[in-house]
Symmetry: D2
Subunit: 384 residues, 4 copies
């Protein structure tokens, strides 16, 4: 990790008591001292907001009851936050991100970026217009072995891609009586989650992971979206077949009701010279098959990892880095770039972290699936 001269300051919207992903972002930022938390609007419930800010050593003057007020106040301060981290339920992503962008503040937002592709496009355009750095936290692209997979494929190690099989089964909503806690509730509520549940929450991770690793573009897709647990409204199991613009085939599956599958994001990419396998639950390794019968295990931390991926690791092979480290890597990349930008450099055209464009692609994928499902699993073209 490189030297840091000036410490960046950030604020957070969401992430109060009981939240799942807010603390994750804070741990991830702290791990490498990427930035310091100085302001927040942690909960719409004033009492909870206060509890959070006390725990996090945030003064009353920078604990805000309202995100709009926070955006306004912080943009006025000479020592205002450098960027905001948005970790609320999905339906609030759009107005909050928009408010901070309009206030001239750089933004990091959890995925999916918004409820519609249109909203995502608006945020992407706005960040470009305002010349602000925007990250959408697709965690797994921060993983060292995922980055290495991208490098290997770009280097032609498995040849031209023919087929992608990716899946993300989980079990946390498998029982009717599993409400998944606070986030389970909002995720299954159309008012807060939008028109999709599993597809938005984890299906978009598949879409982004495949896109990042393979650099393939989807030409068209068809979907079967299921509600497998009686009484639910939104999808909890989704299957998608795809065709990419290079002619390759794809098959995605996500599920929240798959007993025995914990957090099973898995990717297999098959080319005409070999294949690559990656599994989130075993992400210290990458399996490379370059011939019939030759299977090689590449290990994070080992000598054979390319510099572009290796620079994001802290520990040698066999000393596991986990999920928080993957998230932390996104913040390392984002804050490195932000420091560059603040020192006068232009925003890079292809940053090494997921951006609003990835957010757009995610909702584009979701909307195509919804359209396919609504019409009996027919093929739907993806506009490019």
């Amino acid at each position: 990790m490189s030297t840091m001269n000036t410490q960046l300051k950030y604020g957070m919207v969401g992430g109060g008591p009981g939240a799942f992903v807010g603390p994750v972002h804070r741990h991830a930022i702290r791990l490498d001292d990427s930035a310091t938390l100085v302001a927040g609007c942690f909960s719409s419930d004033p009492a909870k907001n206060k509890v959070a800010s006390a725990e996090l050593h945030i003064g009353d003057d920078r604990t805000y009851a309202d995100y709009a007020e926070m955006a306004a106040a912080e943009s006025r301060r000479s020592d205002g936050i450098d960027f905001v981290v948005v970790v609320t339920p999905n339906h609030l992503h759009f107005p909050i991100c928009e408010a901070f962008l309009l206030a001239g503040i750089h933004v990091v937002c959890d995925k999916p970026l918004a409820l519609t592709k249109e909203e995502c496009v608006r945020l992407m355009a706005l960040s470009k217009e305002k010349n602000l750095l925007f990250m959408v936290t697709y965690t797994y692209t921060g993983n060292v072995t995922v980055r290495e997979a991208r490098e290997l494929i770009a280097a032609g190690r498995i040849g031209r891609i023919r087929m992608v099989a990716a899946e993300y089964p989980q079990s946390w909503l498998a029982s009717p009586d599993q409400d998944g806690g606070k986030q389970g509730l909002w995720r299954r509520d159309p008012a807060q989650s939008g028109r999709v549940n599993a597809l938005g929450d984890i299906g978009t991770h598949i879409e982004n992971l495949v896109s990042y690793v393979t650099q393939l573009e989807i030409r068209r897709l068809l979907a079967k979206m299921d509600v497998l647990v009686p009484g639910r409204v939104l999808d909890d199991n989704d299957m998608v077949l795809l065709e990419y613009t290079n002619g390759a085939s794809g098959m995605y599956w996500c599920s929240q009701v798959a007993f025995g599958q914990i957090n099973g994001l898995r990717l297999r990419v098959f080319g005409d010279k070999g294949s690559l396998f990656w599994s989130q639950e075993n992400s210290e390794e990458l399996i490379l098959n370059t011939d019939t019968g030759r299977t090689e295990i590449l290990r994070r931390g080992g000598d054979r990892i390319s510099p572009a991926a290796a620079r994001f690791q802290r520990t040698p092979a066999g000393h596991a880095e986990g999920w928080l480290e993957a998230m932390a890597n996104l913040y390392v990349a984002y804050t490195e770039t932000l420091r560059d930008v603040k020192s006068g450099n232009p925003i890079p055209t292809t940053p090494n972290f997921p951006t609003a464009a990835d957010g757009v692609a995610g909702l584009s994928f979701v909307e195509a699936c919804l359209e396919s499902q609504a019409n009996g699993s027919v093929w739907v073209d993806i506009a490019t």
Copy 2:
């Protein structure tokens, strides 16, 4: 394995020098001394036929140049074969099986049973009419852990089934220069394989395995059938989405061009109380998840396997039984039943081995996929 009083005699059609599956059947039958090979028509090439019969200690009088001649001659002998094993390329299954059934000889035939559903129905009807015992060798249903999976699901251990994810990727035809030897050639030749390659060869194994283990019936399906290696004519990669009559969803994938996947038949069945995972390449184990967070490994040969499955094993846990043993188990079941039938008992309505009805189901599945593919991956109902 139980006592055997009279030794059954069998003949073989196909399985000459260079063949893949013929020797497998012979090994499997020998393993438990299920029957004795006494006649054969091993190759349409007279020289190869002779080589095979010499190696197998078959006299000239029972080495036939022609299957029709063999059926006729063996049916006339007082010491004629009790059953025939048909292990030729697919397009010959139908006429050969028909000839032996018409000659009053019991039949075992490799899968897929024939090139069309119509042919399969004809063979099923004919075997019923002639009161002959017919087995189609879907090898994996002979596997002890597969049988145990069926028992566990029938006993309600994972509840009502919601979702099935099954796949069968292989790599043996992944390179353009992999012709797969003798069988690779005929499998990719429409004249010998019919209208499908991968789907008929391994897709039908998925269909049969799911059907056997879950006892679900397919209501409808849609398919995307690919030719991924340039220059080939028949499918080498197939993806199928399904809906079962109980409302559950299914997703099947088979491929012959998946580098790094050797013989990856895998089954995951998700119910509303748990799930079961089975993998052909690790078939000494069965993974049972009966609660969020509780994963149990059941081992073939262990104390916890039910008697219905355990009776088909030879060795204790940790002393692996493999693929030949799975095939051998089919012959144990078939020959036990055949001895019963020969001693005057009726043919059981639900034998413990795959029958012509499974053959019909296989081609029914194949034809629905072809129809779906021809019409742009639309849903196709399966007639029941």
Copy 3:
């Protein structure tokens, strides 16, 4: 598998109803039609002997009440057995083998070969004197991946060996109430098993496996032999440290009381250029590490297996061969050689199956462990 012109005939001593390993040998011999069973003395209990011979289609004239009678009678017949398979409890191995050798009949005997090194030496000498082919069935040396491991090491792929870690934990006698059935009883009875239980039964498998794969010779060893289940007399858990003549170190562990370990024979060999890992419970694979950080999986049945090992396989990669196949391979090697010898060729000096010399090495190992244990785990030199 090669062509066979004349069918060999064998007899069996032991392997009656309830026996464990006798049926295994019969399955293994049948699998490849290596020989035909024509005579036997299956049990000292006349009723059981009769049951076995009836099941196995052996006529009364060749069902013997007594092994001595059998040796005498078969040696007199013009169509007498070509070899005998001895699968009795350990204490009977010596007199039976001796009797058949004296009668001029080739012998296959289960391991450990006898109760003392002296007995083993006598059998080795006698077989040489009588010019008879002697095999001791150390099953795992029949395994294709074990043979491949030997080839790779002999070819220098991992360099000069520095360290060997090998183990064989099992659980079948872990509970005080697990008597292990018929064989559990005799194995724990000094009268039938000799002075050791676990060390003789499975410790010798470790010793033989290491010796076969690495071709290292033991210079000295020290042992701690435990009786971990109260009330037992013979060892059920043994730990051995070793020094080989090339200066490498070794560590062996065997146990019959290790809950959760089924049949866990595992071998790791570390050289100065790489290492090789093999596990009996996953014996379709061999793990080769040739550099820090590069791990390669070699698969039985795959293109990369050397001809010397590959010739012993029946099925392609992904179509598992198991434990019976490993045993069967020993019989393929033995009967090929026996046919050669019967056709006038001399007995090879280094046959490709384990011989009486391996039997001697096994008891030499056992006796050194006993001596070390008796003297407080001191180092004991192995006479060469």
Copy 4:
């Protein structure tokens, strides 16, 4: 993680540019905001010391050229450090720890605690005398699944322990040309490492892990210590047999020259009712065998983990916590206790982190091994 009212301040000795474990401690402390780094003596090289302090935002006034000066200066400040973290090469642990204890400052020290048991005893006594909180960072006891293993064994889930098999093979010094960088150099230098290399570095991890999880005490042991790479002076491969005071047996192996083994700390504990397996490289899981044939997988983050272990986790199952998180957990436990102590509570008699007593046990183990080795691998009693 609980609320924190006052932020603790710490200083570091060691951990300058090129160091391995210093940054690890800093990451680990930051992850949970356990304390703030405010002072340091990072290198004996003034230039390197300066680079480190600049990177870490430490002012010149609190960047010390010398640890003795630092101990003196910090103890005089009203805002002095609450504790020091000692992460130098091993031979400096003792004088540095002693200096800070004498200055009345709480201490955290990397393992092994010192070069001799005598030094460790002195530090333990001094910390008691001064009423200071002392932690020795045996990282793996911070692991959630290791803590759960201890809970399960204490609760009797596997019964009375009979046998322990533990190992810690690595490969980072396997090649003669692998010097292992800066730490490889000092670890292999007797002047800095003391009389042992591998045994002190990783052998003590085995000893501590077994002791923590099983609560067994060693009665006696024997050791074979090897130098397997020519030209080295200190051990790089060690094998130890043990007897515990409850009569159970143990077998430990550590190695730095084991190609293909990355950081393979593994523990298997066998009781009279079951067994537990843990592997550092797969530490999200714990394998519990409670009956012959029943194997269960327990997952960190899952519902089935006991509260005593679960309180140290940040993320749900399937979202891996790794090695840094294990280290961070030690600091969570230490700083929680330190806040308690600073608020007037007594030092707990059995803290939930490793202490100087563990440091003593580590050197006691090392010295017994050295004595055994010096006398030809004889048994050496461990004084209690």
